[in-house]
């Protein structure tokens, strides 16, 4: 890992791998978690597919719902596995160990994000199997490279947002739990998880402008459904906005973390579990 690379980069890469390792191991070591992490969200998705089917809606609506169900799993992970994570770390007394380690804090957060992404992807296999296998939902012919690109951009933007939220939630301390709860359902709604985001009109467009989940989902739907997705903006434009999200959230997350660390050192609070 170290050949030819600067020592600080090697250190951060090792930290990323180690922190991601926790989540990857967790995803295979506790199979029971699949029920809460994958099966329950898939149940909600099934309800929408069956509802559209019962109402005789166009088949594309069923696909919209399945894709929404898949993406919702990532949003749950971003909120609870990233947003609230530093707060849980503090409660476990682990945060000060991270703050005293020489690796960068962004490396720790990146490891969490990477591990969370891999773990959640293994969970989405359940939603994919249920949606496309069990319920027989179909997509049109699509460009796999474009799908991968749009998906990765969406994930990068989402997890960068998670890194930002993790610092902000830590500042709010015990409110983190409530913040997660209060962000879960409204974001589901504003991202149009189970319906075309265009149905929200101007509100949907505004929401897509600030929530990467909605924009990314819309782009993925357009790649897989074409015009039937009733997309908000051209895929290319949405990909560019997602790219901008990545940069903005990365910079903000870094700033928030630096501020948080400074605050912690000045006030002596945030690294203590009882404060």
């Amino acid at each position: 890992m170290s050949r030819g690379l600067p020592a600080s980069l090697v250190l951060d890469l090792r930290a990323i791998r180690a922190r991601a390792f926790v989540r990857i191991v967790g995803s295979v070591r506790e199979p029971a978690w699949i029920v809460s992490d994958a099966v329950f969200p898939a149940v909600g998705m099934c309800a929408y597919v069956l509802l559209y089917r019962a109402l005789g809606a166009p088949r594309s609506y069923e696909t919209l719902a399945v894709l929404g169900g898949i993406m919702s799993t990532y949003w749950i992970n971003v909120l609870w596995g990233m947003g609230a994570q530093l707060y849980w770390e503090k409660q476990q007394g682990q945060l000060q160990l991270y703050f005293a380690a020489p690796c960068s804090r962004m490396a720790i957060l990146t490891g969490m994000a990477l591990g969370g992404l891999i773990m959640t992807s293994s969970r989405t296999l359940v939603a994919i199997a249920v949606g496309f296998g069990l319920l027989g939902v179909r997509v049109q012919a699509f460009d796999p490279a474009l799908l991968v690109l749009v998906f990765l951009l969406t994930m990068a933007a989402l997890y960068m947002l998670g890194m930002l939220l993790s610092s902000l939630f830590l500042l709010f301390g015990r409110e983190a739990w409530h913040l997660c709860n209060s962000l879960q359902e409204p974001v589901y709604f504003l991202s149009g998880l189970y319906f075309p985001i265009r149905a929200l009109g101007a509100l949907g467009a505004t929401a897509a402008g600030i929530i990467p989940l909605g924009l990314g989902l819309d782009a993925v739907r357009q790649v897989l459904l074409g015009a039937a997705a009733r997309g908000l903006l051209p895929v290319r434009t949405e990909a560019l906005i997602l790219g901008a999200f990545i940069v903005v959230f990365f910079v903000l997350a870094r700033m928030a973390l630096t501020y948080l660390e400074g605050l912690s050192k000045r006030e002596g609070r945030l690294t203590q579990r009882w404060q």
């Binding site: 922190r19 476990q92 991270y98 380690a101």
Partner: protein
């Protein structure tokens, strides 16, 4: 680590270190450190001895870059803890006793490896070191056990091992044996001694409540109280400072049982020792100056309604030094007002 400036510098050096906290928004300031000057040489095991709230943990947190000093400066291995925090972190490790670390889903072995990675230890070095540490803290049978299935004591031992996985230059041990059983604490103390002597330049800063631990391990001890270093020397030298006179222990039956208010002995500082609930007594400890005799002291206690049931004298200990320097025992609460 090959930085010549770092290699020649003392392990720790603080100058006029002061740290205040604000208890709550708009609340009064609490002084945790009040002008601490400490110099710890490479290869030393240096003890910080003081009661709760003396400032020991605050000092360790500043040295391990977790807190800013309010005033003053601190350098670890030649690097400023504020301006060169990353350089300091590369060279240190921190273990706080009574705390646990790691993720329940990981095994002991995996968890220790994970922490080694945060310090950039290559895996081919990390794994053998992890296995060696697991053997040292007597967790071989639990090496592949998930952390959430360990007992509290086992987790504490794992946490201790965690500090050594990065092979730091300067180790901060904050009450490392707190709450551990006697055998585990003894073997960990032996390992600390071995670790420091094994390679030149390794240094330990140890905070402890346990006088015996400080006596056994430390080359030098600083007695700290209310944020100030009141004495700093080797344990024998500190003992010599308070030699003369007799160290007296009285077993006293108090009217209202153990835990009574400390009796007044005039200008002789005294401290309560351990209570003996089975006998309804408690030990009172003090040093009788060479020009004084015991009888008036016993009379004075009698006047306060205290019945002396036993008298013994002994050699000077670090605890005697502590009482002489601080004016109360290590576990004695500060007198209010």
């Amino acid at each position: 680590m090959s930085d010549p400036r770092s290699a020649l510098a003392p392990a720790v050096e603080t100058r006029g270190l002061r740290r205040t906290f604000r208890a709550s928004r708009g609340g009064a300031e609490v002084l945790a450190l009040d002008g601490v000057d400490v110099r710890i040489e490479r290869g030393e095991i240096f003890g910080l001895l003081g009661p709760n709230g003396a400032g020991k943990t605050t000092l360790i947190k500043i040295l391990s870059t977790l807190l800013y000093p309010t005033v003053g400066s601190a350098r670890v291995a030649g690097h400023d803890v504020v301006l060169e925090a990353v350089e300091v972190r590369r060279r240190i490790a921190l273990v706080s006793g009574g705390e646990t670390s790691g993720y329940g889903i990981l095994t002991v072995r995996e968890c220790l490896w994970m922490f080694s990675q945060f310090y950039g230890v290559p895996s081919q070095i990390a794994w053998p070191r992890v296995d060696e540490l697991i053997r040292i803290v007597d967790l071989e049978e639990q090496a592949h056990t998930r952390i959430n299935r360990l007992s509290t004591g086992q987790r504490q031992r794992m946490n201790f091992a965690r500090g050594f996985v990065s092979d730091p230059e300067v180790m901060f041990l904050d009450e490392p044996t707190l709450g551990m059983d006697v055998n585990a604490a003894r073997s960990l103390r032996a390992y600390v001694l071995h670790w420091v002597r094994e390679k030149p330049g390794r240094t330990v800063l140890l905070t402890t409540h346990y006088m015996a631990e400080a006596e056994e391990l430390c080359d030098r001890v600083a007695i700290i109280d209310r944020g100030r270093v009141l004495a700093c020397d080797s344990a024998p030298a500190l003992r010599r400072q308070v030699q003369g006179g007799q160290h007296v222990e009285l077993e006293i039956r108090t009217p209202d049982g153990a835990g009574a208010v400390l009796p007044g002995l005039g200008d002789i500082p005294a401290a309560w020792g351990a209570p003996h609930p089975e006998r309804g007594t408690r030990t009172l400890k003090f040093r009788l100056p060479p020009d004084r005799v015991l009888l008036p002291v016993l009379r004075r206690l009698e006047e306060q309604g205290l019945l002396v049931e036993g008298v013994s004298t002994r050699e000077t200990t670090l605890e005697d030094v502590f009482i002489a320097v601080v004016g109360r025992g290590l576990d004695e609460p500060e007198a209010s007002g």
